[in-house]
């Protein structure tokens, strides 16, 4: 059923398995103990950073596959994406998996985009089981988007730190936290040009998606234990609050994955990267829903859709935010 931009699911697919992986800095953060893949070698035994990310993604996906109950079987399709050019981390990770694969690019919004697509396919009966994954690696992203790792430069206070991490979730009919609704976001650009201030570039898209969600469903923020954004960081979170207040929405239970993953040790404005929201979703949010520590959660991953070329050509940064509504099994039984 469709309410505005919101797709309300009929059968409420369950997150039957999920896994998260992180690098050294992520393991040292407050969510470090939640990661399934906990390796302190940020090269993950590979020769290049690109293959290191791919290896992390592969191990995370295989760990999630390993947790799928035997009666469900292997996924019919995997939606996955990352930040590397041509989505190579995901594509190379899928070389060793004999499963249909659809690569996605939603920048840091990829986890919500992939989970939303997987949920729609399962809910519509087009797949009995579908997986969603996203990953990023600090070193691979840094050398692709910014400067070489050894280059001496000072970061601005608005800059965010790309997470070395991955998250994978398998959706099917079964036991686990449920997906109630999904919403694909509209691209919004309010004229932010600074590629070191992506939280500010993405906050309007997050506000747009949330306002449309609350308008379409009649829900209020208070109905949720938490509203998680992907990686707005401190600056973007602040701006999201201001934008929503102008729209008459008070968001008091907002949390940002970019601030959760490193906690108080967050460099600059916080964390970012496709793997940031993916690792927090699969290592923190879904387990909390499964344990009944939270009942209803909005998960909203935000992406900045510029490239190095468009930034150099003086274009402003468009943002997008996709939303997935999760609930615990108990909350589903009550509704």
């Amino acid at each position: 059923m469709r309410k505005g931009d919101v797709i309300v699911l009929e059968h409420l697919p369950a997150a039957v398995a999920y896994a998260a992986g992180g690098g050294r800095r992520e393991l040292d953060g407050p969510l470090g103990s939640a990661f399934d893949i906990a390796e302190r070698d940020t090269r993950f035994g590979q020769k290049t950073w690109e293959m290191a990310e791919s290896e992390l993604a592969r191990r995370t996906l295989e760990t999630a596959f390993g947790k799928v109950p035997h009666d469900i079987g292997t996924p019919d399709v995997v939606f996955a994406g990352d930040l590397q050019c041509q989505c190579t981390a995901s594509g190379y990770a899928m070389r060793s998996e004999d499963v249909p694969f659809a690569g996605l690019y939603g920048a840091c919004s990829t986890m919500a985009e992939s989970a939303a697509l997987a949920a729609c396919l399962v809910d519509g009966g087009f797949a009995a089981c579908a997986a969603a994954m996203a990953s990023s690696h600090f070193c691979a992203a840094e050398r692709q988007f910014r400067t070489p790792l050894g280059y001496g430069a000072k970061r601005t206070p608005t800059a965010q730190w790309t997470v070395t991490g991955a998250g994978a979730v398998v959706l099917a009919s079964g036991r686990g936290p449920r997906v109630r609704a999904v919403q694909f976001g509209r691209v919004r650009d309010l004229g932010v040009f600074d590629a070191s201030n992506m939280g500010a570039a993405m906050a309007p898209a997050a506000a747009e998606t949330l306002v449309r969600y609350f308008d379409a469903t009649g829900e209020t923020p208070d109905a949720f234990d938490a509203v998680y954004t992907g990686d707005l960081g401190a600056v973007g979170s602040n701006l999201l609050g201001s934008l929503l207040e102008l729209e008459g929405v008070r968001l008091q239970n907002h949390r940002d994955c970019g601030l959760e993953i490193y906690g108080r040790t967050a460099p600059g404005s916080g964390a970012s990267g496709a793997g940031c929201s993916a690792a927090v979703l699969c290592g923190h949010i879904l387990p909390m829903l499964a344990r009944g520590e939270m009942r209803r959660v909005l998960f909203l991953a935000t992406g900045a859709l510029m490239s190095q070329t468009t930034s150099l050509q003086g274009e402003s940064i468009p943002g997008v935010a996709h939303l997935v509504e999760f609930c615990s099994e108990e909350a589903m039984a009550c509704s």
Binding site: P148, L149, G150, G152, K154, L190, G191, A200, P204, E247
Partner: protein, 146 residues
């Protein structure tokens, strides 16, 4: 959403965290000053070893470049620069770091297509416009003072 670009620009300005200017300047002054002091010590040492002033200057620059290259390869220069900012950027050691860091970074893409092609991605514009400025100045000087 009703917010316009102009209104959002005001919100962004209000939300922008400020750099700790005094602390950044202190770091830049101390580290940049220390690098320059090291340069002076090297210059005096080469002079004491009997080198002519011009040769001692060239050897000093070469030594600082070599030290910066080693520090970059060991990952130390970037760590220092993350605090020192302009203090490590402005001296000749910053230029060496800008050449050495991409040379190391892109070696997996091949000696020619990686290291060779990418070595001057950061320093290249400095060289191009440095050469251009010196040429313009040389021509102007020729016509003005003969």
């Amino acid at each position: 959403m009703k917010t316009t670009k102009e209104e959002y620009a005001v919100l962004c300005k209000q939300a922008l965290p400020h750099s700790p200017v005094a602390k950044d300047c202190a770091w830049a002054f101390c580290v940049g000053g220390a690098i320059c002091a090291l340069g002076q010590i090297l210059l005096d040492a080469y002079g004491a070893l009997g080198f002519e002033k011009a040769d001692a200057g060239t050897l000093t620059s070469a030594t600082l470049v070599a030290l910066s290259a080693v520090a970059t390869a060991l990952g130390w220069y970037q760590k220092l620069a993350s605090k020192a900012g302009a203090g490590t950027l402005v001296p000749i050691t910053g230029f060496a770091n800008a050449v050495v860091s991409p040379a190391i970074e892109f070696k997996r893409e091949g000696l020619i297509t990686g290291t060779g092609a990418k070595m001057f991605t950061i320093a290249g514009p400095v060289i191009v416009y440095g050469m251009l400025a010196s040429t313009v100045w040389g021509v102007a000087r020729h016509f003005l003072w003969g």
